[in-house]
Symmetry: C4
Subunit: 125 residues, 4 copies
Amino acid sequence: MSIGKTIWAIAEGYIPSGSAGEDRALVSHETACLLNCGERDAQVSMTLYFTDREPVGPYRLTVPARRTLHVRFNDLEDPEPVPRDTDYASLIESDEPIVVQHTRLDSRHPNIALLSTIAFGQGRG
Amino acid sequence: MSIGKTIWAIAEGYIPSGSAGEDRALVSHETACLLNCGERDAQVSMTLYFTDREPVGPYRLTVPARRTLHVRFNDLEDPEPVPRDTDYASLIESDEPIVVQHTRLDSRHPNIALLSTIAFGQGRG
Amino acid sequence: MSIGKTIWAIAEGYIPSGSAGEDRALVSHETACLLNCGERDAQVSMTLYFTDREPVGPYRLTVPARRTLHVRFNDLEDPEPVPRDTDYASLIESDEPIVVQHTRLDSRHPNIALLSTIAFGQGRG
Amino acid sequence: MSIGKTIWAIAEGYIPSGSAGEDRALVSHETACLLNCGERDAQVSMTLYFTDREPVGPYRLTVPARRTLHVRFNDLEDPEPVPRDTDYASLIESDEPIVVQHTRLDSRHPNIALLSTIAFGQGRG
C-alpha cells in the first residue's frame, strides 16, 4: 500500500518555552507525525523557515517501511535546536510517499491545549 | 450522493491513559469519524502502524449506506486493543467512497482539550 | 473571484448538552463556516447523517454573494433540531462554489476547548 | 523549491474581545501563517468577508523569499482594524505559490484553547 505525497509543508510553528511541568508527555511541544505505509524506507529531509533569517536544515531522518515516526521539533538538534517562543514553519521532503500531520500541545497554563491539522501535501502521490 | 475517497490515512495517534473521570463522554479518547453518503454499505478495513513493530490489523467494520460511524480507537479489540500512551497511526481502506475526520479528546487534566482534522484521502472519489 | 467546491462533507458532529454558562458565545456549539467569495448568491442544502437512522434534511439556507455565514448546528430547527449528545455528520451541497470550515466549542468544563478543520470538498471548483 | 497555491480561503474567523491577560503571546488572537519556500518574494493581498456588509480590503503584505510570516488578524490596521466578537472569513491571494495555515488562540477563560487547520487552497501550484 502506497499513500501520501513526497513534499509537505507546515506553515505554523511555535514552541512555547513555558510548561506546567516536567513530564515529557505534558511539556509544551510541536510534533510532525510521519506515516510511511510503503514497503521501502523513506529518507526524509526537513527544512525550517523563519521570519527574519535564512532557512535552517536539512534535518535528516528515516521513516522505515510500514512505520510511523512522530518527530518532536523540540528534540531536533542537528544542525541546530529549534528556538522557543519563535515563529517558524517547516518543509518536509521525502523520497517515498508519506503522510504528514501536525500537532501542538501547549501547557503554558495549568491545563493543556491542543491543535492539529493535516499538512499541505504536493508531489508524486 | 457519492462523496469521498477509498483510502485514508491519519498520521497522528495517541491515547492518553489518564482521564479526569469515568464518564464515557469525557474519558480521553481518539475517534475516526467515518461518513458514508452513498447507497451501498461500505466494508472498511483499518490497519494500525507503530514506531517499532509491524502493523496490526485488519480491524474490520461496516459503515452502512447513508450512515456515519464514529469509531473510538479505545474500543477496538480484534485483533488486539490499541496500546495507551503509545504513538501510532492508521490507514483506513473502504470498498466505497467515504469521508474520514480524526478527533482526540484529552482529559488528562481537569479540563479537556480537543483536536480534529480531516484525514488524508486518496483513491477513487 | 470564485473559490471553493460545490459539495462538502463534515464527518464529525457532536453537540455536548452541557455548558459552563448561558452566554451565547460560550455555550457548547458546533459551527459550519461557509464562505461565498463569488458574485452570485449560493443556495445551500445541508443533510445530517446519523448512526442508526435515516438522514434528516434538507436544511436550506442562502449564503449571499461576497458574504460569509457561520451556521450554528445548535440553531437549526427546520425540518428538526439537531439532537444533543449524539454522533452525527453533515453533507453540504451548494449551487455555487463555496468554502467550508468546521468548528466546535466545547464548554462542558469550566474552561473551553476548541477544534477546527477544513471540511472535505469535492465537485465543480 | 516551490510549494503551495496562489489562492487560499479561511472560512472561519472570530477574534474574542476578552483575554485572561495582557501578555501578547496569550492575548486572544487569530493568525494566518504564510510560508513562501520559493526564491521570489510573494506579494500578498488579503480580503475580509463579513455576514452583513461588503468585503474589506485589500490588506497588502509581502512574504519574502524563503521566509514565513505569521500574520495576526488583530494587528491589521489598513484599510481598517478587524472588529472583535464578529464572524468573518478571509481570502488570501498571492502572486507566488505559498502555503497557508489558520490558528486561533482563545484566552477568554483562565486557560487557553487552540484551534488550527490548513486553509483551502486553489490555483497555480
